[in-house]
């Protein structure tokens, strides 16, 4: 089997507030559909996005709005992702 790298995709996510899709980074995936799934796992771990576009060189593919439920709700309960979840006493100082 010849060694072949998964292509690189640029990921654009629209935040919750109805703004434009914004470039958030890139990742590797064998095709557009998997790039979207991977983007969900990589870039919305904290529920930052409601819509994803993935772009290989020239083509743009967007996740469909109907996937909104299962794709993005789950991270809501992961409050330990946020630093304020850990109470650090004031005496310890900034952390």
């Amino acid at each position: 089997m010849t060694h072949k790298q998964w292509p690189l995709w640029e990921i654009f996510i629209r935040g919750q507030h109805g703004l434009n899709h914004r470039h958030v980074g890139s990742l590797h995936a064998p095709d557009a559909e998997m790039a979207i799934n991977n983007a969900r796992d990589v870039y919305t771990r904290r529920k930052e996005g409601v819509s994803i576009w993935v772009v290989p060189s020239s083509e743009i593919t967007a996740s469909s709005p109907s996937e909104k439920g299962p794709l993005f709700d789950p991270a809501e309960s992961k409050v330990y992702r946020h630093p304020t979840f850990f109470d650090i006493p004031e005496e310890v100082g900034k952390m």
Binding site: H28, A29, M34, N37, V42, R45, P74, K78, F85
Partner: protein, 272 residues
């Protein structure tokens, strides 16, 4: 520190004070929570060892969801039991013969083929189970947990079906590995649909479905995905291996628990 998996104020649920129902309800909740706990454990073993960074991250998300479900199910189990135990105490201080998970989820993670086929076979059931519970359970608390878990498991199922189809219809090697995994795991699938007295009691109370009733929909989904994946449904008996839900496990569970429970056992009563 606030709890990470707390739901809002508990809903009123008459089942929680039903003395006659208590043993079976507790047992059934342990079956749900132990399966998600042990599968979460197995899935988390991939963290740092995945075949691609993107997959490493995705598997960790799945494991995190399953640990979250465990906190809900075992939390409710502890409440129903009413002996002052917590979800952590149930997870960390019971021995193997008190665990009620499906045998399927305790088998070693194997290669990615076994990991994904196992998740596929489990999720296809898990999704149906949660879907029924969220819509129909007579227990408001069970409905609430199921509705929350269902969102996550819908995504797990979608993702894993996609991967099984792709790898089944990928290279010769990926096809072979998935077929091998399917053949190996098939005899453990029947346990998901084999009811006993506990199931009859909770089904009778309207809390959960009769396990056998989920079989046709599971068969249909599995057949559809296997066909798209160019995989062959094994002709072996699907229920040759069972007993986990009654506490009779494979040799693997003891090792999982020895690892998982080590700190709680070595330092009894300590707070972590």
């Amino acid at each position: 520190m606030t709890g990470i998996a707390e739901l809002e104020a508990p809903l009123a649920d008459p089942h929680l004070s039903d003395e006659a129902l208590r043993p079976a309800f507790f047992e059934w909740l342990c079956r749900m929570g132990d399966s998600t706990l042990i599968l979460g454990h197995r899935t988390s073993e991939w963290c740092g060892h995945g075949p691609a960074l993107e997959e490493d991250i995705a598997l960790a998300n799945t494991a995190l969801d399953l640990i979250g479900h465990t906190q809900f199910w075992l939390g409710l189990a502890a409440e129903v039991e009413g002996k002052g135990r917590s979800a952590d105490q149930l997870a960390y201080l019971r021995d193997a013969w008190h665990f009620r998970n499906l045998l399927l989820v305790e088998l070693p993670k194997g290669d990615m083929g076994q990991t994904l086929v196992r998740e596929f076979l489990f999720d296809a059931w898990h999704h149906l189970q949660l879907d029924w519970l969220a819509a129909n359970s007579s227990s408001p608390r069970v409905r609430e947990i199921a509705a929350k878990a269902l969102k996550e498991v819908s995504y797990h199922l979608e993702r894993v079906c996609d991967l099984v189809i792709r790898l089944g219809d990928g290279t010769e090697e990926s096809h072979r590995r998935l077929q091998d995994a399917l053949d190996r795991l098939w005899p453990y699938t029947g346990e998901m649909f084999t009811g006993d007295a506990v199931d009859a009691t909770v089904a009778g109370a309207g809390i959960a479905p009769d396990p056998a009733s989920l079989r046709p929909a599971w068969d249909a989904l599995v057949d559809e995905v296997l066909e798209a994946a160019t995989l062959t449904r094994p002709q072996t008996r699907p229920d040759a291996q069972k007993g986990g839900r009654q506490g009779r496990h494979t040799e693997h569970l003891g090792f999982i628990l020895a690892e998982m429970q080590f700190l709680q056992r070595a330092y009894p009563g300590a707070t972590w």
